[in-house]
Symmetry: C2
Subunit: 243 residues, 2 copies
Amino acid sequence: MSETSEQGKLIGVGVGPGDPELITLKAYRLIQEADVISYIANEQGVSQARNIAAQVLNNTEREQLEIPVVMPMCDDRSIANRVYDDAANAIQKELQAGKTVVFLCEGDPLFFGSFSYLLERIQENYTCLVVPGISSVHAASSALQSPLTMLKESFAVISGRHSDEDIIKVLSLHDSVVIMKAGRSRQRILTALDKSGRSHEASYLEYIGRKDEKIIRDVSGLEGEAGPYFSLFVVVRQERDRS
Amino acid sequence: MSETSEQGKLIGVGVGPGDPELITLKAYRLIQEADVISYIANEQGVSQARNIAAQVLNNTEREQLEIPVVMPMCDDRSIANRVYDDAANAIQKELQAGKTVVFLCEGDPLFFGSFSYLLERIQENYTCLVVPGISSVHAASSALQSPLTMLKESFAVISGRHSDEDIIKVLSLHDSVVIMKAGRSRQRILTALDKSGRSHEASYLEYIGRKDEKIIRDVSGLEGEAGPYFSLFVVVRQERDRS
């Protein structure tokens, strides 16, 4: 990591789970002060992270260059890696010119986020900073008004990308469990909850804090069809040990 | 939960891990709009949560009543429960009078926080809201500039209050592990890291984002003496699967 002041700085900034008011004061300030704004966008040019920060960007009087990183929807990591290589090059060109580049990240930058792949490509060459954001895990427990962890409880996060066996093992071992990226794996997760005897302790959430938010506290009536990428299950003990 | 508008509202507000700039815009607004501010304080009257929010409170022109909830340092849950009972009564008196009460919480309100105990005493009787905050877990990975989770990695949080056996089991099962409340258990945790072969993947952090912040990336030289309550270990895979 180089500290020379002529060079620019890359700052990964978490903008939270969706509600624009869940942006931190620090994120707000750094977005406004940035020379360059970058973010992941889909092939239609839509960026969830940029949408969350839209009001902050509109309030800036500064001329800001934007670098959208267009990520095609596919499971081929070699394509994703090429997109990250190209994005890292474009960002480093700005850093070399002494610019401050803010990369907008949904939720928290280092929690299942794309920023990790840019950071690992750039942090050896330029000064980098990371500003944490509210992750969907904490947004979910706030929306449910249900403690995520108390006292001696243990807590784990897995995703619908894990095997049935792994999901069941984690549900058996930990008091509180969040299962992220539940979209395409919804039926498998419902079966795993059933097999581990924890269906009655599970809630299901989609698009927390956005206008299409959905909260289902009784998953017994939930269909096994695929849901959106931004859906998750929260499982907490019904009887909690308070000793 | 009662929705009648003559009654007040209790709002648990996360103020983040320590840096006052990691307060969200929503927390900032709600703290300023509150009639009553409440928080946990120690026997000397010091409240970490209030300290983090001090600038926001100083910027308020509103007259705000403060209800400090003094929690003695002890492991006796019956004393803590009596303190929560009394605090819930004092807060409900204000809610009954139609006041909006904001309870300030370090980190996130529902992640190992005291707010859970007030919420469970009050949520049946009055309207409650929870505003998530940045937890120390995300503050730690940002401070380390190291991804907490990538792709198919699993993640777990345990605390120094768990048994040696449980800590070793979690270190063996999960890719990324945060061990909170490491203070008095530091030696036990160092031994567990050693036994599970993950000492070289562990970092140690104290008081993240505060003036006495300490970050140790090589725990092999860390002494086994007790550390502060707000200390934690972050363990991530050295070789990460990117496929």
